[in-house]
Every structure is written in C-alpha cells, then in structure tokens.
C-alpha cells in the first residue's frame, strides 16, 4: 500500500528517538543530588511533625531559662496540659475536617450545645447521667451529620455551611438552656458522672486530670485510625484530590459525611470534658475553643488545603500555644503579648506549609 518507513518497520523506536540514551529502564527512579536546604525541605516534607516538635522543644528550653524553677515544676506542666485539654480534643475533630480540605467553624457551638443537653437532662430532667451523656453525644453526631449532609448533598462550601450552623447551634444552645448556667453544686449532687474528666491523680507532684489522659488517648486513637486504617487513608486522599479519589473507587461523599459525624461526636466528648474542667455547664463556655482549635491544627502543620497533616501535630500545636501562654504569663508579660505571639506562630506555620508544598517539583 505504501512504502513509508513507519509502515515497513512498525516496531521499535522512532527515528528521532534513537538518539535517546539506550539501555535505561523505563521511568527510572534515580535519587537526585540535592543541596543542603533542599535536603532539609525534603526531610521536613517527609516528616511534617518535626517542625512543631522542634518549636515545642525550643520554646520549652527558652521558657525554662527565662522563667526557671516555677516553669519546670511538674505541676506547671500538668497545668499546661489541663489548659490545652479542650483545645486538644476539639483539635482532633478539626484536624479530621481540615484533612478533607474543609473547615468546621461550628465545633465550639456543637460542644457547648452538647454540654447544655447533658447538663439539663441529667440535672433538671433527672435522667440517669449515662443516658444524658449518651443523648448529648447523639446531639453532637446529629449536628455533625447536618454539616456533612449540607457539604455533600447540596455541594455547599464547608466554610459557609459551618459558619451558618455555628450560629444555628449556638442559638439553639441559648434557647435550650434559657441562657442559664447549671451550677456546680447541682451537678455534684445530681450527676457527679458529668464531672468525671475533672478528677485527677497525683503523679510526682503533677496533677493529671482524667480529661488530660482522655485527650492523649484520643490523639493516639486517631493517629492509629488515620495511618493504619483504610478510612484514614481515604480521608487523606479525599482532601488531597477529590476527583482522583473518586476515580480510584473511593465513595468520597461517604467519607466526608462520616468525617463530619465523627467530628460532631468528638465535640460532644469535649463537652463532657468541658463540664469536668469548669465544674459547671454554661451556655457561654468554650467561646474561644473554635479559633483556638484551628490555631492548634495550623501550628501543628496540617495544611488548610487538605490531604496533609497529622493528629500528633495538632497535639504539639495545642501544647505550643499552651506553653507560650503559660510561659509568658509566668514571665509577667502583659496578656496582650500572648495573643501577639500566637498570631506570629500562625503566620510562620502557614508560611512553612506553603514552602513545603512547593517542594521537589
């Protein structure tokens, strides 16, 4: 039919390709020679929790020199852990959502609504405490489910959805509680179980509350879930590239909905811990938990663009904020400089994240 060379020899490299180096394996994976800074960038990229780990260590050393004895006392350390306990728990929920490239602005509102449900049912309605706590956790799950439904079924941006539900849940909280605090002694006499997480054991001068232990356990649990279960890997994949995850056979909507429900349940557990921490149930409690949790997640190295980050990072992020606040307070520095320091930390953390995302292109 034709005497063109390509039809005479349809196999083997094209003429122009013969000049390519021969004998190499296809798509070889060869380590590249890298400069010092590039190597640091790669190392940090491979171990994202290294940065908050180093920052925490440096700040610990710094404040032990500046403040001295009082800072280094075990009791002070246990105090820091107590102070970051709520933020740490809510931070776990927030990390899950942010890993899917979403954000949950309603975590604080879910927590306070759940705490009022637990408190009122146990103290005023006279329900057995375990049942009241169960209903409170159910309310948290429902709130999270509503967020998840709006994000997946109605394709609304998570920021807008949770900005809306934040207000809705908080209004429901004020309505349900009639803006009244449930007093500590009422809880003590009617439902001491609600104060469980406020109890503590003394270890070497440190006062370790059950709430602190619970937070550490929750972090360990979700470290396992995120790294060692298929669901955890899928949470990362959905946040990294939703379309690719869907083509790879992942039911992305199911992952998103379960993430928001689990986040709601964790917030309800934080509500229980909150009652133990402050001793009462107040509709105005935990107002700062929302932004503080996001701060912990971001300082912990989890990317707001989704797909990369870690639960351990969030714990470290929460501890960094706690150490800065505690250390600066003990140094007698004006409270406003605590806020200043946290602000600087956030911006530095996100700048590092951006730098790492540009790695190895």
């Amino acid at each position: 039919m034709s005497t063109e060379p390509d039809s005479a020899a349809p196999r083997g490299p094209q003429e122009f390709e013969k000049r390519l180096p021969q004998g190499e394996a296809p798509a070889q994976f060869v380590p590249e020679a890298t400069s010092g800074l590039k190597r640091v960038q790669h190392l940090l990229h491979a171990h994202p929790t290294a940065i908050p780990g180093i920052v925490l260590l440096v700040s610990l050393v710094f404040f032990s020199f500046v403040v001295g004895e009082r800072f280094l006392h075990p009791f002070n350390f246990s105090l820091i852990v107590q102070q970051v306990m709520i933020i740490g728990i809510v931070g776990v929920a927030q990390t899950l959502v942010i890993l899917t490239a979403g954000i949950d602005l309603s975590v604080g509102a879910i927590m306070v609504l759940s705490s009022m449900v637990m408190g009122r049912l146990a103290v005023e309605a006279g329900l057995p405490a375990p049942l009241a706590i169960g209903v409170g956790i159910g309310v948290g799950a429902l709130c999270g489910g509503l967020n998840g439904l709006l994000v997946t079924r109605f394709r609304l941006p998570p920021f807008i959805v949770t900005l809306g539900t934040w207000n809705i849940f908080f209004a429901l909280n004020l309505w349900y509680s009639a803006s009244e605090t449930i007093r500590a002694q009422d809880i003590e006499t009617n439902a001491p179980l609600l104060l469980f997480f406020g109890q503590a054991v003394e270890v070497a001068g440190a006062r370790l509350t059950y709430g602190s232990v619970f937070m550490l356990g929750l972090v360990a649990l979700f470290w396992f879930v995120l790294n060692h279960t298929a669901w955890g890997r899928h949470v990362h994949a959905v946040g990294d590239d939703t379309d690719s995850a869907r083509l790879a056979g992942i039911n992305t909507d199911r992952i998103l909905i379960t993430v928001y429900i689990v986040a709601g349940i964790i917030c309800a557990l934080a509500a229980w811990a909150l009652i133990g921490r402050i001793g009462s149930a107040s509709p105005q409690a935990g107002q700062t938990a929302n932004l503080d949790a996001i701060t912990a997640v971001v300082i912990g190295g989890t990317s707001l663009f989704g797909g990369r980050g870690s639960i351990v990072g969030t714990l470290l992020g929460a501890l960094i904020v706690g150490v800065f606040r505690n250390g600066l307070a003990l140094s007698g520095v004006n409270v406003l400089w605590q806020e200043f320091a946290v602000g600087v930390l956030i911006i530095v953390a996100v700048a590092i994240d951006q730098w790492l995302r540009r790695t190895a292109r």
């Binding site: 039919m1 899928h234 083509l247 790879a248 056979g249 790695t359």
Partner: protein, 259 residues
C-alpha cells in the same frame, strides 16, 4: 468478524445527548494479548465509546460482553471490579500519598487476625511487598523509597505508577487514555515500553491516542472511529500513517477488507 474469542466487545452501542448522537451503533472488539489503538477525530465519539466500555456512561442501547458474558456497568467502579482497569488522563493519583498508598487506594489490604478484623488495621508490609513486585514486573523497580509521596515523582514516573497499578489489578483489560499526551519525548519512549511490557504480561491493552507515531509503533490493530461508529479496523503494517489519518477524517474510503 464476530466477537467469538474477544476479551471485550460491543455491538451496536447507541448514546444520544438530546439531538446529538455520540454513539451511532458503534461496534468494538478487543482480542486476547493485543494492543488495540483507538483513534478518531475530535467529536468522533471515541471518548463516549471508552466511557461506555468503562461504565462512566450507560449506553441507550447495544450490548457489551466481557469474556463472552454480557455486562452492564453502572459506574466505573463496577467496571473496575469486573477486571477492566483504566489509566485516566489525569492518572487519578493522590499527590500527597505515597506510591504504596496510591497503588492500593480504594482496595487496601487488611491485616489478618483480630488486628485486621476488629481494629481494621492495614497490612502495610504486605502492600509494600506487592507494590514492589508489581513495579518490578514492569521494570520500574529502581525506586529506592516506595513510601515517597507521588508528588515528588516526575510525570513519566507518575504515569509508571498509574500503569503499574492498572496492570497489577486488571484481570481482563487495561484501558489507557492518552498516556503520552503530557510527556516529553524521553518519557514518552519509556511509557511506550511500559505499554509493551503490559501486553507481554498477557493483558490486552486499549490505547486511546492522538499521537500517530506512538499508535503505529505499539498497536497490533487500529480501531478508527468516525461519526459515532467504528469506521474501519486496520493493521499498522497494512496502511501508512497518512492513510490512517485520511480514513479517520473521511478523505479516504476504508480498505474493503477490515483487519
């Protein structure tokens, strides 16, 4: 030419979008162990054909058979479960996840015993081992770190991972959509070698490509799609590239005897 011993075949597929007929009684046949290229001008309905075969769209009428048995996929996941693997043009890889994670994305292996059943713990070491085997089968195993994120790989390496994933899990067919479109000359060359490797391993390959030199280099047969149907099937040894393009665009009548 009936679909006697075909791996994947289609008869009289029709798909209409309003007044546009994307597939007009299109036929398709893929035989064991071959590389079948699908070419066609833009708008010829070639991607509709592939989407119908991989479950991304459901044809209005017509039949599809896989290994002689009729199938009707409602989603790409169903096609995948039936053993038809697709390497999408965007590769469907998750950049922040590792090579191993990506290879097993959506079909992770769980650990045996209570750890796997109760705690749903994944078997990382078995997945690493199998990923390594899959990559080395295609001559891709010079990777020093199989746990490195996919985003640290070059375009050709990513294509390699996506093809290795498809070849490892594809039980019947591997379909590749423009695998060399985004690559440079050197990397294209290597990916073409990979495609030949996949055929070598016994899996038939459907190659959708606009690149005539690439098609003529690796394909055993060429399915020319035109105006929503199979216009001709030719062998690269029988026609020239210029003729193939002429047939594809309607400038030349297809050869009387289809290959």
């Amino acid at each position: 030419m009936s679909g006697d011993n075909t791996v994947l075949s289609a008869r009289a597929l029709v798909k209409r979008y309003g007044r546009v007929t994307a597939l007009d009684h299109a036929d398709f046949d893929l035989y064991p162990g071959e590389i079948l290229a699908v070419i066609g001008d833009n708008g010829a309905g070639k991607s509709s054909l592939i989407k119908a075969l991989t479950g991304a769209i459901t044809p209005d009428s017509g039949t599809i058979t896989l290994d002689g048995a009729p199938v009707a996929f409602r989603s790409p996941i169903e096609a995948r479960e039936a053993g038809i693997e697709t390497v999408y043009q965007n590769l469907a890889l998750s950049p922040a996840l590792s090579i191993v994670d990506n290879m097993f994305l959506g079909r992770e292996l769980r650990q045996e015993g209570a750890l796997g059943r109760v705690f749903r713990k994944l078997d990382h070491s078995r997945m690493q081992q199998e990923a390594r085997t899959a990559l080395s089968r295609l001559g891709l195993m010079t990777i020093q770190n199989i746990n490195q994120p996919v985003e640290t790989l070059s375009g050709g390496q990513r294509q390699g991972v996506a093809i290795a994933r498809a070849a490892a899990f594809g039980r019947h067919v591997v379909i590749m959509d423009e695998p060399t479109a985004a690559l440079g000359v050197k990397e294209s060359r290597r990916v073409l070698d990979l495609i030949l490797e996949v055929r070598q391993s016994g899996l038939p390959v459907v190659l959708i490509s606009h690149n005539m030199p690439h098609v003529f280099e690796v394909a055993d047969r060429i399915h020319i799609h035109r105006l929503g149907r199979r216009h001709a099937v030719v062998k690269p040894s029988d026609v020239s590239m210029a003729d193939a393009v002429a047939i594809m665009t309607g400038a030349m009548a297809p050869p009387a005897q289809a290959a």
